[in-house]
């Protein structure tokens, strides 16, 4: 990923992505948390290319424009329900057109998952309403494992109440966090990096400050992000989106007042395990060895390559997506050509997924799916949060088990039609969220150490001897026991001559 980064930025810039520029016309690069020189010993690095504070938005529109130029067929308002698998290989997808209620079996030699993460399994998250772990759940229902689900990143600056994200670039441009006493508390927790320490360190520091009673506001339950000391034209040039977000969602003028922020679920480091070409991996049940799944690829937040490990650095999500999305495309282009035949499939493929969907559509229980979703989100937010203990995780697992049983037995779907049935679609999304939540809780309970964003108060240290491995979780149907397995971490680089492997060291700021 690091090797392809510069090339990728040039490619995007050639596509027309509007990066911010310096005076001499080069692409503007800013500091971002966790980025350093000399493998951590050389101070802060300024290498994050940005387009004001909406790099992702700019990238989305640039790539969409490019895709329209090429022969891309978009099926809008189609909701993918399940993967179609034949003999362990993926042959296509079963999906529903929400617009007219028809179901479609789409057969394809190659399927690429790019469905995003599952932030919506938490009560307060920065993700969109569609971030419901659909790809992860489809893979789980196909009997394949998901990797490293226990690592959920809490972003330090989500607006208190709304949960909308204030980008790390605000701290990169010079903003800092204050507690109720007006103190820049990050200097105590991370003397060198201060506010630009890694996101999990900052989130934990904020949580500790709030727990020890130094939180702000009437309920003392958040801290403040101060940007008003920065020059006004810097704010309006480099952070215009934040100025608008803060005024819309928090009613604050950032040039005069600080923003109330809280650690909010932002990114799921875990996902479908892939190799560096983007091919999905699974563990062969007979021999215990790893193998690739034919015809299935994954890229972005849904996948876990994993370049982020237990904690993701800022700006790497966009880079990961573009580099490994491209890797999927190149692998597919190498192996496939236009007009190649499809594998033979049984006539009734996909009928079991349809039967499940029908059962959900006709459910006549007493609990609405919105209620089940609210319960799940609250359990995740209280028990499987920034700080975890054995008790909280066990209680969380048990409560999730009950919620899954409620989903299986007491679900009520009121809207029975097929056209624009948002009740049905949200229930299917809830089904996906539940399996992601259950696998998160299961792997969090099993991992008895603190690593990156998985912080356990009863096991506060990192244990490289015992726990330097990826967790794999399987759960075929909601309510099933989550099976936890492990997989070795790849400690070497692809080419030791070009770039030596960096050995893990204790993290200190």
């Amino acid at each position: 990923m690091c090797r392809e980064a510069a090339k990728t930025v040039y490619e995007l810039e050639n596509y027309g992505m509007p990066f911010s520029r310096t005076e001499d016309g080069r692409i503007y690069q800013r500091a971002l948390g966790g980025q350093s020189l000399e493998y951590g010993k050389g101070g802060q690095a300024y290498r994050c290319c940005a387009a004001a504070d909406r790099t992702g938005h700019a990238m989305l529109h640039t790539l969409y424009g490019q895709s329209l130029k090429h022969n891309t067929n978009f099926f809008i308002e189609f909701f993918a329900i399940d993967l179609l698998m034949v003999d362990g290989a993926c042959v296509g997808v079963l999906c529903m057109s929400m617009e007219d209620g028809t179901l479609h079996r789409v057969f394809a030699r190659n399927t690429v998952l790019a469905t995003g993460g599952y932030g919506r399994s938490y009560f307060s998250c920065t993700s969109a309403h569609t971030s419901t772990g659909d790809g992860n759940a489809m893979v789980a229902r196909a009997g394949l494992p998901n990797q490293d689900f226990e690592f959920i990143q809490f972003h330090p600056s989500g607006i208190y109440g709304a949960g909308v994200l204030i980008t790390e670039g605000a701290r990169g441009e010079g903003g800092y966090l204050l507690n109720a006493q007006g103190e820049r508390f990050m200097e105590r927790y991370a003397p060198t990096a201060k506010d630009l320490a890694s996101r999990d360190v900052v989130s934990r520091s904020m949580t500790i400050e709030i727990r020890e009673g130094r939180g702000c506001g009437p309920d003392k339950d958040h801290v403040l992000l101060q940007l008003s000391h920065l020059p006004k034209d810097l704010i309006y040039e480099r952070l215009p989106g934040i100025a608008e977000t803060a005024s819309v969602f928090a009613g604050i003028d950032i040039t005069k007042e600080p923003i109330p922020v809280l650690p909010t679920v932002h990114y799921c480091m875990g996902g479908v395990p892939t190799n560096w070409k983007g091919q999905v991996l699974t563990v062969d049940s007979v021999s215990g060895s790893e193998k690739t799944v034919d015809g299935l690829y994954a890229a972005g937040e849904v996948a876990s390559v994993s370049v982020h490990g237990a904690n993701r650095l800022g700006a790497n999500s966009l880079l990961d997506l573009v580099v490994f999305g491209r890797a999927c495309a190149m692998d597919i282009a190498e192996k496939s050509e236009r007009g190649m035949p499809h594998t033979a499939v049984p006539d009734d493929i996909g009928h079991d997924s349809l039967a499940e969907m029908e059962a959900i559509r006709n459910s006549e229980g007493d609990v609405l799916s919105a209620q089940i979703r609210a319960d799940m989100q609250k359990v995740m937010q209280t028990d499987i949060a920034v700080f975890r203990t054995k008790d909280s995780l066990e209680v969380g697992n048990e409560r999730l088990g009950k919620i899954q049983q409620d989903f299986k037995n007491r679900l009520a779907v009121k809207d029975k039609s097929m056209v624009w049935n948002s009740d049905l679609v949200e229930t299917l999304e809830l089904r996906n969220l539940l399996t992601c939540a259950a696998q998160t809780a299961g792997s969090a309970l099993a991992r008895e150490e603190s690593r990156g964003s998985h912080a356990r108060e009863d096991f506060p240290d990192r244990d490289d001897k015992e726990w330097m491995k990826h967790s794999l979780t399987w759960q075929r149907r909601e309510g099933d026991k989550v099976e936890v397995g492990y997989r070795k971490v790849t400690g070497t680089t692809l080419d030791e001559e070009e770039c030596k492997a960096v050995l893990p060291v204790t993290r200190s700021y």
Binding site: N73, F75, E99, D100, T102
Partner: protein
Amino acid sequence: MARLSGLQRDVLTLYRRCLRACRTKPTETRANFERFTRKEFGKNMALDKKDFGTIEFLLRKGTRQLEIYEQAGVRNIAG
């Protein structure tokens, strides 16, 4: 027979386009597509011929469905 109105002609044009698209489908599944077309049109036969709003909406919906189903990749249809 009385002269057909513009709207009636549009409906018949859409039906003709659908049947022409059916002829491009593989032989084994052609009957499925034709049956589907007749059923879809048959669903709304009892509509009042003066209900212009509904007829125009159904025409738009039918055109959208035709655009998706006439693609070369779609090879079979059920229901």
